[in-house]
């Protein structure tokens, strides 16, 4: 999986659910992985290092701000059906992320 994505020149973040103990741990790791991926491309600065991510909505907002300048980004959740202590709606919410993130970018562009 990693090889395919690295060959396709798209920035990506891979999160392994086996290593994430709770749902919140998963979200924090997702944000950290996204920050690491974006950092590889451009200088982002210190504020992103100390960000907290308590819930899906905060993750949503952070991702909107983080991915504002990006054209494409891929997030991979490995083994998400085996994630422990997950709120039951997590998966559907994650699946619909792209709608909200994209809309925010559209509003920014309009401005």
């Amino acid at each position: 999986m990693k090889d395919v994505l690295s060959h396709s020149n798209t920035p990506f973040a891979l999160v392994d659910s086996r290593e994430c103990i709770t749902g919140r741990h998963l979200l924090e790791r997702t944000l950290a992985a996204a920050v690491d991926a974006i950092d590889g491309l451009a200088e982002q600065g210190e504020p992103w290092r100390n960000i907290r991510c308590e819930s899906i909505s905060t993750l949503n907002v952070h991702l909107q701000r983080l991915l504002g300048g990006c054209d494409r980004f891929v997030m991979v959740f490995d083994g998400i059906d085996k994630q422990r202590e997950v709120p039951p709606t997590l998966l559907s919410a994650l699946a619909r992320f792209h709608e909200t993130v994209c809309q925010a970018i559209q509003t920014i562009e309009q401005i």
Binding site: V76, S92, A95
Partner: protein, 333 residues
């Protein structure tokens, strides 16, 4: 790539393709994402040939230290031999364990690596050549019958004080930390199944013409003279090879039942479902069919034979109080 996972890509279509989310999932529930029409890719499990071809890309070495260069055993020859033996070894491991118990690539590789070192130890010692695969397999087949290879343990199993007894008097094949307690060799089969197994062993290893001597109540006195006069009073011919070393001979189910009724010290009750227990033992592969006529398991013409050795069945017999050696033809060593 994981062998059995669904890969779901939730790609954006008409909106700006900024964020794509991919889920790698092993067992998705029916209404997983509460949406419909999710693009996905399904990865089926590897077949035997594919798994073996993947794993034979890197073969481990047979010899841990490079042998003497004066033997003209170059690196290319060594690599060639490694690959040759490793590929055949993988297919044996697949047939014995991995097909049922270690199906995915990671555990298949783990089992193969765990068994490799004990398997090629005779080649390293010099007892077999590198291309002598069939004889090596016959020598090491006990490796594949033991199920402890499937367990992964950090703490070694406790070794008994006495060494593990084995069928041919050899020392245990595994180092002491793989030693399984000897009692584990006897499976937990029910009471009548143990008698069925003893009767099956006797049916396989006693010649049919001596059945009358051993199993009829009226001839109990004759049984005491093992190897004595048979029939018209000729002394018994000495067999050149002890019968236990030969492969078991086939027997029919009714002969098995007759012997069973003879050796069980009390009456076999009607409620003991003998046929069901026989078919369970066949499913456990303790009894094997020699010939199939019409495909019916309990057909009277169908012949069976046993799939275990003397040690196993004498332990089994002793556990129900049945002394096997009294009934065995020929000297039981």
């Amino acid at each position: 790539m994981p062998g059995d996972s669904n890969y779901r890509a939730d790609l954006t279509g008409s909106k700006i393709p900024s964020l794509s989310i991919i889920f790698i999932v092993s067992h998705p529930k029916p209404r997983f994402l509460h949406t419909s029409g999710i693009p996905h890719i399904f990865f089926p499990q590897y077949s035997k040939d594919e798994a073996i071809r993947i794993l034979s890309q890197n073969s481990p070495n047979i010899f841990r230290t490079t042998p003497d260069p004066s033997l003209e055993y170059t690196e290319e020859l060594a690599a060639e031999d490694n690959r040759w033996v490793w590929t055949r070894f993988l297919s044996v491991v697949w047939e014995s364990a991995a097909r049922s118990a270690a199906r995915d690539l990671v555990s298949f590789r783990a089992v193969a690596e765990r068994l490799w070192r004990p398997f090629v130890a005779p080649i390293e010692e010099g007892r077999f050549g590198t291309r002598d695969f069939t004889r090596l397999l016959a020598d090491r087949r006990k490796l594949f019958q033991d199920e402890s290879m499937l367990l992964e343990k950090i703490v070694p199993l406790v070794a008994d004080d006495k060494p593990a007894p084995s069928l041919n008097g050899e020392t245990s094949l595994f180092p002491s930390d793989f030693h399984v307690a000897y009692n584990a060799l006897v499976h937990d089969v029910p009471y009548f199944s143990r008698y069925i197994l003893c009767a099956a062993y006797l049916a396989s290893y006693n010649p049919a013409r001596q059945d009358q001597i051993y199993f009829m109540k009226s001839s109990e006195r004759k049984r005491k003279k093992r190897g004595g006069m048979i029939g018209s009073g000729r002394p018994a011919k000495n067999r050149k090879i002890s019968r236990h070393l030969l492969s078991p001979s086939p027997f029919t189910v009714d002969r098995l039942l007759a012997i069973l009724h003879a050796i069980v010290p009390h009456d076999v009750p009607q409620t003991a479902d003998i046929y069901m227990q026989i078919s369970n033992l066949a499913a456990l592969r303790l009894l094997l069919k020699s010939s199939v006529i019409g495909g019916d398991l309990l057909d009277p013409g169908c012949k069976w034979r046993v799939n275990f050795g003397l040690e196993y069945v004498s332990t089994l017999g002793r556990s129900v109080g049945f002394e096997l050696s009294e009934y065995l033809a020929g000297a039981a060593e």
